[in-house]
């Protein structure tokens, strides 16, 4: 079985793998939803169905030494960056083999080897942290970049404003990525936010911004490359707004009945998996048969990951008392 870092590195220039990783996320989230419904997963889940192109596109652009501070909605980010479906599912199931040893749960993905900082369940929680990671890179003179990844509705929290301002005045190598999936919980963005194009908020900080179609992995790669390369070259932060759509409800059992009629259907026509299939088929890299094969294989693959996680042990009572304080400094990045 490959490590998360190997999984991350394998993505490099491998378009089929991009597609496969998107399928993996899609299938993973589908099964997660089922497992939650059946009671096998407790707590809460926040799915990213429909947003796979953004996660995978971003992963293909960043180097493994770069870091990302994301949110409770991060199964997709975690998988795209390389975390295995097994480790991700084990965490969601609270198993000792999970990426956080089972004490984190669905909202707390983490893997240092691929730059996945512990994701935060607090809105705005990751933005200052990403800025701080970027500050370290700047001081250390390292060509690394930090990414803060968050939702549209998170652009209304104070930490957003403060983090962008700080990153701008210090010219930090950080990219702020808004995953604008149109909803914050059960509220459509227009109900809580007076402007539609959230990247325009960058002007308050004299910061460049980019708006991108988050359903199109190639567009995502182009936009992210521009932002990440700029940061790496020392040109400072960029605010990227990816227009996506949350195909699922907000969390747990939410049916998203508050959506206007037809909205989901409209966005489903832009399903990133569909779009990628079309692009790859056009390039001759995919055929209908191959697609069916890959999808069937993915069902099998996720099934195995789930079954493996099911058999895994739970953390022992002593695990609860570990990693509260540390004597040694973790050999941080």
């Amino acid at each position: 079985m490959s490590t998360s870092l190997e999984r991350r590195e394998a993505l490099k220039d491998n378009e089929i793998l991009w597609y496969e990783r998107m399928l993996e996320i899609r299938e993973f989230e589908k099964r997660t939803n089922e497992l939650f419904a059946s009671g096998e997963i407790r707590g809460t889940t926040h799915l990213c169905v429909g947003q796979e192109a953004l996660a995978v596109g971003l992963a293909t652009v960043l180097e493994p030494e770069d870091v990302i501070a994301a949110t409770y909605r991060s199964h997709g980010i975690a998988l795209a960056f390389g975390l295995t479906s097994h480790s991700t599912m084990a965490e969601i199931m609270g198993k000792a083999t999970g990426c956080a040893g089972g004490v984190g749960g669905s909202m707390h993905m983490c893997d240092k080897s691929i730059g996945l900082l512990p994701t935060s369940a607090i809105i705005g929680g990751g933005m200052p942290v990403a800025a701080g990671a970027a500050l370290a890179f700047q001081i250390q003179n390292k060509p690394q970049v930090a990414v803060a990844f968050f939702g549209d509705a998170a652009t209304n929290i104070g930490a957003f404003h403060e983090s962008l301002n700080l990153a701008a005045i210090w010219k930090l190598p950080v990219v702020f990525v808004i995953d604008n999936n149109v909803y914050g919980e059960y509220s459509r963005i227009n109900l809580t936010t007076p402007i539609e194009d959230l990247h325009l908020r960058a002007a308050s900080y004299d910061m460049p911004s980019i708006k991108v179609d988050g359903m199109d992995i190639y567009a995502v790669q182009e936009a992210m490359t521009q932002a990440v390369d700029g940061a790496r070259r020392g040109e400072g932060p960029t605010l990227v707004e990816a227009k996506t759509y949350r195909f699922s409800g907000h969390s747990r059992a939410d049916q998203a009945l508050y959506r206007p009629a037809g909205e989901l259907e409209m966005w489903q026509k832009k399903d990133p998996i569909l779009l990628t299939e079309q692009a790859l088929t056009k390039k001759g890299l995919l055929s209908e048969a191959k697609i069916l094969d890959m999808k069937a294989a993915m069902v099998e693959f996720i099934d195995q990951a789930i079954n493996q996680a099911r058999l895994d042990p739970e953390p022992g009572l002593e695990q609860m008392f570990e990693n509260i304080y540390t004597a040694a400094k973790a050999s941080n990045a």
Partner: protein, 333 residues
């Protein structure tokens, strides 16, 4: 009715009784609250009085302060107590001091409702009780109901109170059922003696009340069960009276061993009643660890009725206190 329905009922009755009661928070209006604690409020009282807010805890907590000063009685919902970590300033440093700083010219009749506590698999950033954030705040009252009746009666009292009140709702109780007499008034600052007893006083709060109740029953001993209900200002007289009678004190709390609210009770009572005590007073608490996600660990995180009944038996039978379970088991860091 269920605990969450008792909240709705109290809100409804207060909003009917007093036009100046308004309510806002994230997804509390159209979606009727993430925990369904505002079912029907928007429908019954309309969008002027019942409002969804952006994800801006600082702004809307402060907006409650300002609206209260101008004659309204705002109730706000902080979805998870942890989110007050981005807004504590407005409640503690602004709201709670306005009356003092205005020589009494302004009052701030507002209620901050927040769900708290562990048990539902929400992980370490969504499961704490965090009474300590607000406990040492002169000018603020802090209340925590333990069943549908106290949820109803205390919330009405909180809304009628002319001071800022922090109203902590143990999330795990939302689905609990219990009788509610809507004519029964409860006063803020008064503890409830839920069960009289002669040999030990058991003080508890919120979710721990039912744990303590079961423990007493299991122990078969004569323990006086007190629901503290109000944490600030807590009912010194009631606990004094009880401990004077029983000569023994156990405090059961969900908060951590270090920094938890129970020390306040043990410390004060010991100072006052030292020579009346037949044995050392004691606390039964959670350990000093973040709340773990894994279900087995999370269940072990909070005091169990076994912990409590063992402690009751030991203190009543032998005048001895038991060490915390993690010390007994050698799991202490």
């Amino acid at each position: 009715m269920r605990f969450r329905q008792a909240i709705v009922a109290a809100m409804t009755d207060e909003m009917k009784a007093d036009e100046s009661v308004i309510f806002f928070g994230e997804d509390v209006a159209a979606a009727e609250g993430p925990f369904k604690t505002s079912e029907g409020l928007l429908e019954n009282f309309g969008p002027v009085r019942v409002r969804d807010t952006p994800i801006s805890e600082m702004a809307f907590t402060g907006a409650a302060v300002g609206a209260a000063m101008m004659g309204m009685r705002p109730v706000i919902e902080i979805m998870f107590m942890e989110f007050l970590g981005v807004a504590l300033d407005q409640l503690v440093t602004e709201g709670a001091k306005m009356h003092y700083l205005s020589k009494g010219e302004f009052s701030v009749p507002m209620v901050v409702r927040a769900s708290c506590g562990s048990g539902l698999g929400f992980g370490s950033q969504h499961s704490q009780t965090l009474e300590n954030w607000v406990a040492a705040t002169p000018g603020l009252k802090v209340v925590q109901p333990s069943d549908p009746q106290s949820a109803y009666s205390l919330l009405r009292a909180a809304i009628q109170d002319n001071n800022p009140v922090m109203f902590l709702e143990p999330r795990i109780l939302y689905a609990e059922r219990g009788e509610v007499d809507t004519n029964l008034k409860m006063e803020i600052g008064r503890a409830r003696v839920l069960q009289e007893g002669s040999d030990v006083t058991v003080v508890s709060l919120g979710n721990m009340v039912s744990v303590a109740r079961k423990a007493i029953k299991d122990s078969g001993l004569s323990a006086e069960l007190i629901d503290l209900a109000t944490l600030v200002p807590w009912d010194r007289a009631a606990i004094l009276e009880s401990v004077k009678k029983t000569g023994r004190l156990i405090v059961v709390e969900e908060s951590p061993w270090s920094g938890g609210w129970g020390s306040e009770i043990v410390s004060f009572i010991t100072t006052e009643l030292f020579s009346d005590l037949k044995s050392a007073p004691m606390r039964i608490t959670a350990p000093d660890v973040p709340v773990p996600f894994n279900g087995t660990l999370e269940a072990r995180y909070v005091p169990t009725s076994e912990d409590v009944s063992a402690a009751i038996t030991e203190i009543v039978t032998n005048n001895k206190v038991l060490q915390p379970w993690w010390i007994q088991k050698g799991l202490n860091r």
